[in-house]
């Protein structure tokens, strides 16, 4: 009699334990999906999210393979200093290209903004900031404004207020503003036009803007010197 009772108590205890464990697992799953905030997405949103994850993953994979190859190259024995120098130079050029320290070319678009005869409205730094941001969102790899290369730490500002002029990385620029971008032409153009596109917005205000597709856009290197004084 007593034995039966103990068996029963143990059985119930175990099943209760399992239930609690399941509940906690469930909690965790809910939390995890929340974190990525994909709960409220429609099917097409989910699809594009998945595609962008796959693209990001593939890029990372390439980078990984690339790094492995480089390690192997440095490791090779009986390598002369000249050969090492070559490896280093190659790596340096690659990084300089990504930073904007080289002249580059490729397919892209050229945007020309004319202030025309507008009396009260002028382009200000914020307009250029928005356009640059949309170009970046569309995957632009190189951008310049009136032949000033936009790099990752470029700042744009307006000196004075109404009658002021725009400076980009300390260099004064004047209308007409010519913005060049290298990247997928369809994406770049698409980002600026249509739903919420900033070029459309500016056109509504009366600015004259042309967008030209060009298969060989040339963009000059960043001309200021780059140094890291504060970061390690």
């Amino acid at each position: 009699m007593k034995k039966e009772k103990i068996v029963m108590a143990v059985t119930i205890g175990i099943s209760a334990f399992i239930l609690v464990a399941i509940i906690f697992m469930q909690f965790k799953v809910v939390e995890k999906t929340d974190r990525i905030s994909i709960d409220a997405m429609t099917e097409s949103d989910l699809r594009s999210e998945l595609i962008s994850w796959r693209e990001k993953y593939d890029e990372l994979q390439l980078q990984y393979q690339d790094t492995l190859v480089k390690i192997q190259e440095y490791k090779e024995e009986y390598k002369s200093d000249e050969e090492t120098e070559k490896l280093l130079e190659n790596e340096l050029t690659e990084l300089k290209t990504l930073l904007g320290e080289t002249n580059v070319h490729g397919q892209g678009i050229i945007i020309t903004i004319n202030e025309g005869n507008l009396q009260n409205d002028k382009i200000n730094y914020e307009d250029l900031l928005y356009i640059v941001n949309e170009l970046k969102a569309a995957g632009a790899e190189a951008i310049s404004i009136n032949d000033n290369r936009v790099i990752n730490r470029t700042g744009i500002y307006t000196i004075g207020t109404e009658s002021g002029f725009i400076k980009i990385d300390g260099k004064r620029i004047l209308a007409p503003y010519i913005i060049k971008a290298i990247g997928n032409q369809t994406y770049l153009e698409g980002a600026l036009l249509g739903n919420g596109g900033y070029v459309d917005e500016l056109r509504k205000w009366g600015f004259e803007i042309q967008i030209e597709r060009n298969d060989d856009v040339k963009i000059d290197a960043y001309s200021n010197s780059l140094s890291n004084k504060y970061m390690k």
Partner: protein, 243 residues
Amino acid sequence: MEKKIQLLIIFVLMSMGLTYGICVQMKTVSKNGTTVNLTSTQSKLKDEILRISEKYDNLFAELEEVEKQLEVERQNSTSNNSNLATLEENIKQRNLALGLTEVTGTGVKIILNDSNITTATNPFINVSDLLVHDGDLMNVVNELFNAGAEAVSINGQRVISTTAIECDGNVIKVNGTKIGAPFEINAIGYPELLSGGLSRQGGTLELLEARGLSINLSKQNSIKIPKYAGAIKFNYATNIENY
């Protein structure tokens, strides 16, 4: 008899606990509403996204490992030649500048949050003014670069050359990753210049403050900014030789 009562009490307590757990769980799920109503395609897609994002995280950790190895190899093969060591240092500095390594330095921290003013307390206010928008973040980041910032991050997302700040419904995307208020912007540079640039008269922070947004700016002796969580690759732009 007494033992029976004891057992009974234990049972009752156990079932109460269980019921409570189940109820809490049900409430959590119904709060997320959509979780329950997902079609099978949607949940399949969701599973795939979760799986690939996990794979991505793993690969990223591996990449960090091999990048460290590469740095060691590079150092080893340049240690006894000053010419090569200079090249190696140039590579290091560019990796810092690109955002491909974690960096530390002096700088500022800005915490930006939506206003706590509501239309209930002020019916004439424009609701949109009370929220932090993509354009606000763009302006703050731009102002930091104007003041000579060398590295900037927003909620842990390093700002690199391809970083866009996009509005996506009621959230903001930086580097394609969704982030929400409060926004913590960290910047490395000369603290006096960075904070001076932001808080100057008629400057960015003054305009945000006028809208009732909550802003907290502080100078930092040592601030850490993470590396970009991805790879930077060009598919369209190539170098012009002999330009």
